[in-house]
């Protein structure tokens, strides 16, 4: 009887030991990858509300209020040449002085980075080598060119109207 108990105890031990496996730790994750727009795929025009909201958030780094958006939309719609309307809106924004943008000194310290960042900020894409070379050369050669001028050119450009 004692041997039988011993035997059963051993069987039980072997079964328990054999049924357990070492826990495996499996982890899933994503590698960091930047996703940027492609100029050729921007075929949809932003509507007025989208354009104004995106522009405002881009420049002030905070959302526009619904009331302000409504008023701005109406005023832009009331002018035939949308470039004129956008340029005046922007220039009005720049006059507020609270726009989040780099200083002119910072721009000139590293023009290449400034150009790349501006393309990313407005167009959500990297500049091509040709685009980079154009801006680098133009800003370097023209000491009067300011961040405000570059931002105005981007914000009123055709590509910024599309996504």
């Amino acid at each position: 009887m004692h041997n039988l108990n011993k035997f059963l105890g051993m069987i039980l031990f072997i079964c328990l030991y054999g049924s357990c496996k070492k826990q495996q730790h499996i982890g899933f994750g994503l590698e960091n990858a930047n996703v940027y727009e492609d100029k050729s795929r921007k075929t949809k025009k932003k509507n007025d509300a989208e354009y104004i909201s995106i522009l405002y958030t881009n420049l002030y780094q905070s959302p526009i209020s619904p009331n302000q958006l409504y008023k701005t939309q109406n005023v832009l719609y009331s002018i035939g040449d949308q470039d004129v309307a956008s340029e005046m809106l922007l220039s009005n924004y720049f006059n507020t002085g609270s726009i989040q943008m780099p200083t002119n000194i910072l721009m000139r310290q590293d023009i290449e980075s400034f150009v790349t960042n501006t393309y990313k900020r407005f167009y959500l894409r990297y500049p091509s080598e040709g685009e980079k070379a154009f801006f680098k050369q133009y800003i370097t050669k023209n000491s009067a060119v300011s961040v405000e001028m570059v931002y105005t050119a981007f914000a009123t450009s055709d590509e910024y109207q599309y996504y």
């Binding site: 100029k39 921007k42 025009k45 008023k71 701005t72 109406n74 005023v75 719609y77 009331s78 002018i79 035939g80 040449d81 949308q82 470039d83 004129v84 309307a85 340029e87 005046m88 809106l89 220039s91 009005n92 720049f94 006059n95 507020t96 685009e131 154009f134 801006f135 133009y138 023209n142 009067a144 060119v145 001028m149 570059v150 105005t152 050119a153 981007f154 009123t156 450009s157 055709d158 590509e159 109207q161 599309y162």
Partner: protein, 446 residues
């Protein structure tokens, strides 16, 4: 030089000599079809739906409300005829008197009827506002015209820019608001014309409103030196993105024109602030404000063609007294605008033709809505709503009255070919095949 070369070169030189004068700034070659009759045209779209009875027929309350002996002309600047003497409610308020009992004094020494060409009974192609406005500006009947879309057929602005080579700031549309598709009237979406040839536009009561000022009025005034690099960089970016023709959604001005328009907007806000805007003696209506801004555009740009839209009379749907007041004021501001051009814009004085026409009429039978005077109101949907008039005056326009209530002459689609005729481009406009085949220049209706 051998004979063959000589003949070839002479042929090219001769051809170039003949064609060069007709190659327009727009790059288009056009067949010059007639002599220009004036340098400027102002079209007053006397819109909102105007009944013949209270306008050209001078019936005041006699037909509409059955008030015996209450006929009379309440549009003295446009038409001939004595004012009503009974139940005066269309004028300005005078303390201690019933509302509207003081008619606004006539501004013009001679009515437009007396000094121009009047078509008292014209057929409107539509009883609706937007299609009617389309008819005035496109010369097409617009039966298939949808709302909230640009005109399906080219506007007179596009014809003028394409065939007469006018620049964007030569053509203006002053809309009275941003509702009812009105701001879309500055250009069609026609594939052969479209926004590339569209007119500049302000929906003036919005652009120059208090919030227009808040959004645009504080903009910086950039110097030319500042603007050049901005436009240079923007042009580089735009060329790099290269929009196709069907992606263009706005009319475009040259960089110089854009700067001028921005300066103009700022100057209007400044004048507003200083109380220096020219205004008609009675300017307490939305229509009056719109005409004031049209006058500012005329003074600044001296455009070849400007169309201004007014529509206060549409209150007739529910308020007949308001309608009469608006009609009387519409006459007042139209007279004022003509007078302003003659007295304040020397470049246009004596060299402008003004055309005035409603976009549709109003019903013969009323709806049951009563106003404060217990007068019934009128919509626009029956045959009477297809009855309108047109007046034209100015440089070289004969003083004639063509047609009568029993003998209609002309269609509202005539306005576009008439303007084309004034600028000498009637043939290319007609040959484009996009206007009403029954439309004619009013000069050819005489």
């Amino acid at each position: 030089m051998n004979r063959k070369k000589f003949i070839t070169k002479s042929g090219i030189a001769l051809g170039g000599g003949i064609l060069a004068p007709y190659i327009l700034p727009s790059g288009r070659l056009f067949a010059k079809s007639g002599s220009q009759k004036a340098d400027h045209v102002v079209l007053v779209m006397f819109a909102g739906g105007v009944r013949q009875q209270e306008s050209i027929l001078g019936r005041y309350l006699e037909d509409s409300q059955g008030v015996f002996g209450a006929a009379g002309n309440i549009m003295p600047n446009l038409f001939e005829g004595d004012a009503p003497t009974k139940k005066i409610a269309y004028g300005t308020d005078v303390p201690g008197m019933p509302d509207g009992s003081e008619p606004i004094p006539k501004l013009l020494s001679q009515s437009m009827e007396k000094s121009g060409l009047l078509f008292p009974e014209v057929k409107a192609q539509s009883a609706g506002h937007y299609v009617g406005l389309n008819t005035l500006l496109t010369g097409n009947v617009g039966y298939s015209q949808g709302l909230k879309v640009r005109p399906a057929y080219p506007t007179i602005f596009e014809y003028l820019r394409k065939h007469a080579g006018f620049k964007a700031t030569d053509t203006w549309f002053i809309a009275n608001g941003i509702g009812n598709s009105t701001p879309l009237l500055n250009s069609s979406n026609h594939k052969d014309y479209g926004l590339n040839y569209g007119a500049n536009m302000f929906a003036a009561p919005v652009t120059f409103s208090s919030y227009g000022k808040e959004i645009l009025g504080n903009s910086k005034t950039y110097s030319r030196t500042d603007l050049e690099p901005m436009y240079f960089m923007k042009n580089f970016l735009d060329q790099s993105f290269a929009l196709t023709k069907d992606q263009i959604t706005s009319i475009s001005n040259t960089d110089e024109e854009k700067t001028r328009i921005k300066d103009f907007i700022k100057s209007v806000f400044e004048k507003q602030q200083a109380g220096q805007l020219a205004a008609p003696p009675v300017s307490n209506s939305g229509d009056a404000k719109n005409v004031m801004y049209a006058a500012e555009v005329l003074r600044e740009f001296k455009p070849k063609m400007l169309a201004v839209n007014i529509s206060g009379v549409d209150s007739c749907h529910s308020n007949f007294t308001g309608y009469l007041k608006s009609l009387h004021r519409a006459d007042h501001i139209t007279g004022w605008l003509w007078q302003y051009i003659q007295n304040n814009i020397p470049e246009m004085s004596g060299n402008t033709i003004m055309i005035v026409a409603p976009e549709c009429g109003r019903n013969e039978t009323p709806n049951p809505i009563l106003d404060q005077n217990d007068w019934v109101s009128y919509d626009h949907s029956d045959a009477n709503a297809h009855r309108v008039w047109s007046v034209m005056l100015g440089k070289g326009v004969p003083n004639l009255r063509i047609g009568a209530a029993t003998q209609p002459v002309g269609r509202l689609t005539d306005i576009t070919p008439t303007i084309a005729d004034i600028f000498g481009i009637l043939d290319p406009v007609t040959n484009a095949g996009l206007i009403d085949p029954l439309a004619k220049s009013l000069y050819n209706r005489i």
